[in-house]
Chain length 305, copies 2
């Protein structure tokens, strides 16, 4: 039996490029055909996509938590949707899939990148194989108690493909094309792994999540400065002590104090959806993880289930 | 008595740069002080700004219509807000103002521009004076039966300052700075007019609204193509017959058929908020209106009321 992969677009209803691609490729598009894979697609949050909003009751990509998944009577629309997705396509669902690829876009200048939610060996193999092909950066979003319940964590292997910058609610051919490229390479890597032909030749370079920084706020909780223009030119840049970080309305600057433990790099600077989460930018540390044969073994084991 | 000007930011709750400027300049900011003017500021739609949404029940900038303004029991939140704004600051309100400047932002690559909603001589004088200083384009959004009830129309003189591109919900110092520049020059022109010192030396170049184009849609009403990348590099460009207009998911292109009546120029290409209005881009024709002394006379008369 072919290994099964689920591609989800529209997990956030105002990120419209991923779901638009899936809808317009139609049934059995050649882009998604791989000999050793059975690929299915799904709209993550159809109600939010219809409304043009990130979510209706709660962020679907924070809703894969026991509290919501184990409550058959939850009034939360996204809790219900998380249960439905797992019941249909989850590893123990009616039409089980083993791998989840979750298509996202961001208002931050992130380019094409992958987001991992921990160090599961199968995820590391998939990310490393993709990075060897495309060279794209990998954000390892681990150990963040403020942010849990990501969709990809509910599958044995899974990650998010994140593309930006693009405004919420805007269709952009360039963003669609970037998503398509990333998606095709992810499927190529899975195909190779399923055929026992994936060999990792290099280390995996990750940007490990250290923490997030909010805008400075006044006594009423309103932002009293915004990110400095230099922070908006592109993420993944090193932020050194003394670099401009925020800018007040009068043009004065707040600089970064530095991190005694080493160089830091920004990600998700000015992601519109993170303002409500109190996140202006997140800081990461660049690290190289030597590729291990056990990663590929783990991915092959997932695909053979 | 000094002529009174009302500056509104946050008419759309997800356009956060204008209201942020107004909130953080605080009371009596030097940027807004002019000897011959009394300048007040107001948040257009505080409930929508709090929610981070364009509006709650209905677009506030389409709510200045008799049907809503004359219904004291309207359940529409924006209808109520339109009534409040006029009762407080309208030309016949408790603290009357004669001129309205409405701060907006757009996801379209429009740069800094002014939007006029008709050919009232006082509006033309204000726009022409500002164009002479800054050279910015002026979009004359007239004769569009699908779009009525703009806020500026409810004041004797008024227009919108539109700045982009910026994603909805994102604070950007560059966008704030552009808004500030446009606003300062608008106040300078009003100050000159109030002092009887405004002299228009040139014609006013306008981009007259011709109509809007929706994305091609399938039988289910879903877009089956998006705007071509060349249409997203910047508005105000001439669109010639044969130029690429839309792009399908498979990369094929739909070209523009041309307009037999003359050259057309695009505005508001890929404004996220216009997807629900079925507008992918709007077409305009560039025209020069010879400046008339009567425009300045009309603006002076408004300011002396």
């Amino acid at each position: 039996m072919a290994a099964s992969v689920l591609i989800v677009g529209g997990t956030h209803g105002n990120e419209c490029n991923g779901p638009w691609l899936l809808q317009h490729w139609g049934h059995k598009p050649p882009q998604l055909q791989r000999r050793a894979l059975s690929v299915r697609t799904e709209i993550g949050n159809p109600a939010a996509l219809e409304a043009g909003r990130r979510y209706i009751d709660k962020d679907l990509n924070r809703s894969f938590i026991d509290e919501l998944l184990q409550d058959p009577d939850t009034p939360c629309l996204e809790g219900q949707r998380a249960q439905q997705l797992l019941a249909s396509h989850g590893p123990n669902g009616q039409m089980p899939t083993q791998v989840l690829i979750d298509l996202h876009s961001t208002t931050a200048a992130m380019g094409n990148c992958l987001v991992l939610y921990g160090r599961r060996p199968a995820d590391l193999a998939l990310a490393a194989g993709c990075q060897e092909e495309l060279g794209l950066p990998v954000y390892l979003h681990e150990s963040d108690p403020r942010q849990t319940g990501f969709m990809a964590q509910a599958w044995p292997c899974g990650l998010a493909l994140e593309v930006g910058p693009v405004a919420q609610g805007v269709l952009s051919p360039a963003i669609c094309r970037q998503s398509e490229l990333g998606l095709e390479v992810l499927l190529d890597v899975l195909e190779k792994a399923a055929a026992g032909q994936l060999n990792l030749r290099r280390h995996l370079q990750i940007h490990r999540h250290l923490g997030s920084i909010d805008l400075p706020r006044d006594n009423h909780g309103q932002p009293c400065a915004c990110l400095h223009p230099q922070r908006l030119c592109g993420d993944w840049q090193e932020l050194q002590a003394g670099d401009p970080l925020f800018q007040h309305a009068d043009g004065t600057t707040i600089t970064f104090a530095g991190d005694p433990e080493g160089p830091v790099h920004t990600v998700f600077s000015n992601e519109a959806a993170y303002q409500e989460k109190g996140i202006a930018t997140s800081l990461t540390r660049k690290e190289d993880l030597p590729a291990e044969r056990s990663w590929v073994d783990a991915l092959q084991a997932v695909l053979q289930n």
